[in-house]
Symmetry: C2
């Protein structure tokens, strides 16, 4: 297998941290998003969506999108499950993971892509160009604040995103917090529950991935 | 178990069609979104996100969000799998499902929620209020057109969203096409591949759910 990565980008980092937690080692190829390598014909043949991460199997077929890749890896490397250990836990993990993805990660992307000078017509990833909407950048920042506040309330009575079980949803949330720094948003000092959780997950060796 | 539904809303319909395909019958409770029943203290106790669908288990615990509910039902009712039959197929289904959710369903919600007079400060679902952004309504319509066009290209060489396997991603895509009618978007006549697939999935008995 080959893992198409970009060392500086948050989405592929979610997969890298996931692999580090499960001690999975896969040949990794860097795609230079800065110079637009994802738009090359060569890369489009691997992923027509022109995004990283991508997991390419030995038969040449490819899996794109963070969650699909991680779920696949979870199935073929079942040790140390990160998607839950029971049907109910798996449902709660999926729900928490979707929630932080939609309410956090996508908010960060909304804020960044609608304001960065280098992303003028790239307000959304993927094969279509969309113009920036300045009001949407502002809304993204507002949503990040709300997500921080929701997470802080959650961690008042939960060790992790799903009770006391460290899961893929914690990885998504941690990468979101780090991604939010790109648009100058940091966990406010009075969000002590969120800060406690963030310090804990950031100290795991996998966080360096 | 109890299923909290709203007969007229697209998100819970995705679960209803899923259950119909798998011949699952669960006591169903209608939540009147029109009169704001989702904001009541009674419903907030069931789902703090104030959204349907919700699946409530017999022990009182709840699962929210379409995908988490369907995945849970898939696990406890494994017959006629709709999430894939192999690890690779499950990855492709998840990827296709996420793609149509982000590129189609969310586009429809973007168009509707940023323009409907009754949704002035409800441009996003969930516990926080956000003002409408007219440019975002316009972008939603543009994204629906692009999603139609991408799906039409896909169905030129695929019977279903994942090759010749009918899956939960086809349910998501069908409900998206019907949801798009709310903002007056219909499959263009020259999108013959998409029209062929849509006619086929719409004729399944589950489509009436």
């Amino acid at each position: 297998m080959k893992f198409y990565d970009c060392a500086t980008a948050p989405s592929p980092r979610r997969v890298r941290v996931f692999m580090a937690e499960k001690n999975i080692h896969i040949e990794t190829i860097q795609v230079d998003l800065g110079s637009g390598e994802q738009f090359s014909d060569e890369f489009k043949a691997i992923n027509p969506l022109m995004e990283v991460p991508v997991l390419q199997l030995d038969d040449g077929s490819s899996i794109s999108q963070v969650n699909a890749i991680c779920q696949y890896l979870e199935e073929i490397y079942p040790d140390n499950p990160l998607y839950g250990r029971t049907p109910m836990e798996r449902a709660l993990v999926d729900s928490a993971n979707n929630r932080v993805n939609a309410g956090g990660f996508m908010a960060g992307a909304e804020a960044l892509r609608n304001s960065a000078p280098g992303m003028k017509n790239r307000a959304l990833p993927g094969p279509h160009n969309y113009s920036q909407i300045p009001e949407l950048a502002a809304r993204g920042l507002q949503r990040i604040d709300n997500c921080f506040s929701d997470l802080n309330a959650h961690f008042e009575s939960n060790q992790y995103m799903v009770e006391d079980y460290f899961s893929v949803a914690d990885i998504s949330a941690m990468v979101f917090i780090d991604f939010a720094k790109w648009v100058k948003k940091r966990v406010p000092e009075d969000h002590t529950n969120l800060a406690r959780w963030y310090a804990e997950v950031s100290q795991r060796p996998s966080a360096k991935a």
